[in-house]
């Protein structure tokens, strides 16, 4: 890893009067696995299509390997796309689909045959050359789409929700295989998904987007453990988001009770948002001195690897708690949270301002 392979500088795009991408800046390092993550309609596909060249941004430019490619048509860009709906050529068999890009580059027949063999092996579909693409299952079609892209040896592979149409089991299998493939090929992957779990398990950098803005950019661990704002916290996994007031450095008041935390540098009595993950809420004996908040268990569901429980504290807030130990509903309990599990965030004045703040921070980096 090292230099930036792709840079998006101040990209804006308006569709039908609607600002879909607003002054977006993003640098993608060579050989990284970057995932654009966000809810439906937040502009992920648009961003990807701007990189691929299908959409021309209204403002800003796209730099590829140090060269401005903003005006380059898709067929002249050194990257390939795997489309959400596979987009295989229905009138060609598997071989001709994969050979399409190589034929255009006028490669020799023996080179093409070798490449096809290699690619089919890589996606575990050896011997499928003669098959009609429409006779293949969804998972197989997606593998062919991947093979069709990688035989061209792109520096970057763009993948737009490539696994969205597959069932859970197959999706997990393909996630694993894609990751393996990425390591074998040693190229950059830019991956789009709205599935946060997929983003966290597969990528080394996650870009959380909402309403055309980047909300947070970081490693999966950073995104999960240190969400920058309430949007990221709610979008990534379950979380308890509560109103708090900073009493002093390393001490935050939640529902009138002081919690030790590890954040500092806020103003005296500054209102903040506090994020606590359900697995970080500890249930303790109601009489122990650890019981900072007190309440009553109101529900429990067995989820396989853990119990999902709810506890209503005296202030009326319902805490979501994940634990492997069941605490029966109806029981009076105390609640405690370890200082390092308390994530303090500035309160946004408005959604837009929130996003702009995040961007400003990013630009400083």
């Amino acid at each position: 890893m090292g230099k930036n392979l792709i840079e998006l500088n101040h990209i804006s795009k308006i569709f039908d009067g609607e600002q879909v991408i607003d002054d977006l800046n993003l640098s993608i390092k060579e050989n990284s696995f970057v995932t654009l993550l966000g809810p439906s309609g937040c502009g992920k596909t648009t961003t990807l299509r701007i990189i691929a060249g299908f959409i021309r941004p209204d403002k800003g430019n796209v730099i590829f390997d140090g060269v401005d490619i903003t005006d380059l048509p898709p067929n002249e860009r050194q990257l390939n796309t795997v489309f959400q709906k596979y987009a295989l050529f229905p009138h060609m068999n598997v071989r001709d689909n994969i050979a399409f890009g190589l034929n255009i580059k006028k490669k020799s027949k023996s080179y093409i045959d070798d490449k096809i063999k290699y690619a089919l092996k890589l996606v575990n579909l050896d011997g499928y050359e003669k098959r009609n693409v429409e006779s293949l299952s969804g998972g197989q079609q997606q593998r062919i789409a991947i093979a069709r892209a990688i035989v061209n040896e792109p520096k970057v592979l763009l993948l737009d929700e490539p696994l969205a149409a597959l069932d859970l089991k197959l999706r997990q299998e393909m996630q694993y295989e894609l990751k393996k493939l990425k390591n074998e090929l040693g190229i950059t992957f830019i991956y789009v998904t709205h599935d946060q779990e997929e983003a966290l398990t597969m990528s080394d950098t996650v870009v959380v987007m909402n309403q055309g803005y980047i909300q947070q950019l970081g490693t999966p661990e950073q995104i999960y453990n240190e969400p920058e704002n309430a949007f990221v916290a709610t979008f990534i996994g379950d979380s308890n988001i509560v109103h708090g007031v900073m009493l002093e450095d390393y001490l935050v008041e939640i529902f009138g009770s002081p919690f030790k935390c590890i954040d500092s540098g806020f103003g005296k009595r500054q209102p903040v948002d506090v994020v606590i993950r359900p697995e970080d809420v500890d249930i303790v004996d109601i009489n122990s001195d650890k019981a900072i908040l007190k309440g009553k268990m109101i529900g429990a569901i067995f989820k396989g690897e853990m119990y999902e429980m709810e506890c209503r504290t005296n202030d009326g807030f319902e805490w979501l708690i994940h634990s492997t130990d069941l605490v029966e509903p109806g029981k009076e309990v105390g609640i405690f949270v370890e200082p390092e599990n308390i994530q303090i965030m500035n309160k946004p004045a408005s959604e837009d301002e929130e996003a702009v703040e995040v961007l400003a921070e990013l630009n400083e980096e």
């Binding site: 898709p74 050529f89 580059k105 061209n152």
Partner: protein, 271 residues
């Protein structure tokens, strides 16, 4: 129970088919293989080998081919453009395009006669503009013009239909893999629209081949196509046997043509 009710609804169509399609075909079949005394003969059908007859057949084929090619050359780019438009806009344009079809074909063709006549509207305008006049009435060109005008929508519709079924992402994928526009057109778009092209060709070629209205009106009786010949045998010569025999030949010819085009259509789907 439900089926019985549904069957009731089919009776009018079945009756229509019987009286206006099946019975006439049997009548033609009967007259076609008999002579004026009612004796069996194949002479009516084989009369296509007479010079006057096969000349009108070849002329009809020739003009129908020209008409089909022109229709395809106009319709394909038009359908490509329509495909790119917002569906609302393309829907409106197609509606406008199809509007003349709601008018009787005879009237539309007569309108062209008035436009093209030696002292017709077009020539009046050309004279006013001090331009040389256009003398194409009663020529093959006028007949082809009329055919193209009448049958063009039959080419546009199926071609546009098959083009709009092509997924945009397939086209994007091709250019993503390095294809320039002409490669995308010839390797992806045209191959995927062959079913539409084939049905367009069938829907234009067959009526153009068999028309007699257009050649009678715009050809001024000088241009005798096979359809016109059959019409003459029935209406003017009152030789139903010969007319039916030639009709049988024409029907067989059309069947062969359809079979060939279906073969191409299937082959595309299998590939």
């Amino acid at each position: 129970m439900k089926n019985k009710k549904l069957k009731l609804f089919t009776i009018p169509y079945a009756a229509w088919m019987l009286f206006f399609v099946i019975i006439p075909i049997f009548i033609i079949g009967y007259y076609g293989v008999t002579d004026s005394n009612g004796n069996f003969t194949l002479a009516n059908i084989f009369s296509i080998t007479q010079y006057e007859h096969y000349k009108s057949l070849f002329l009809a084929i020739y003009l129908a081919i020209i008409c089909t090619v022109i229709c395809l050359l106009i319709a394909y780019p038009l359908a490509l453009i329509l495909r790119k438009l917002d569906p609302k806009l393309s829907g409106t344009l197609i509606f406008i395009f199809l509007l003349p079809m709601w008018m009787n074909m005879l009237l539309r063709t007569l309108a062209w006669q008035i436009l093209l006549e030696r002292k017709g509207v077009i020539n009046a305008l050309l004279t006013m503009a001090h331009l040389p006049t256009l003398n194409i009435i009663n020529t093959n060109a006028a007949v082809v013009l009329g055919m193209v005008y009448d049958f063009l929508p039959f080419m546009v519709m199926p071609v546009f239909n098959s083009l709009s079924k092509i997924d945009d992402s397939v086209i994007d994928a091709a250019s993503d893999l390095g294809a320039k526009y002409h490669t995308v057109l010839f390797r992806i778009i045209i191959p995927l629209s062959i079913p539409g092209i084939v049905s367009g060709i069938t829907m234009v070629f067959i009526p153009a081949l068999t028309t007699f209205v257009i050649s009678n009106i715009l050809g001024g009786g000088r241009i005798l196509l096979i359809g016109g010949l059959i019409e003459q045998e029935f209406m003017h010569a009152s030789n139903w046997n010969l007319g039916s025999g030639l009709s049988i030949f024409l029907i067989l010819f059309v069947f062969v043509f359809i079979a060939i085009s279906m073969f191409f259509d299937d082959e595309e789907e299998l590939a």
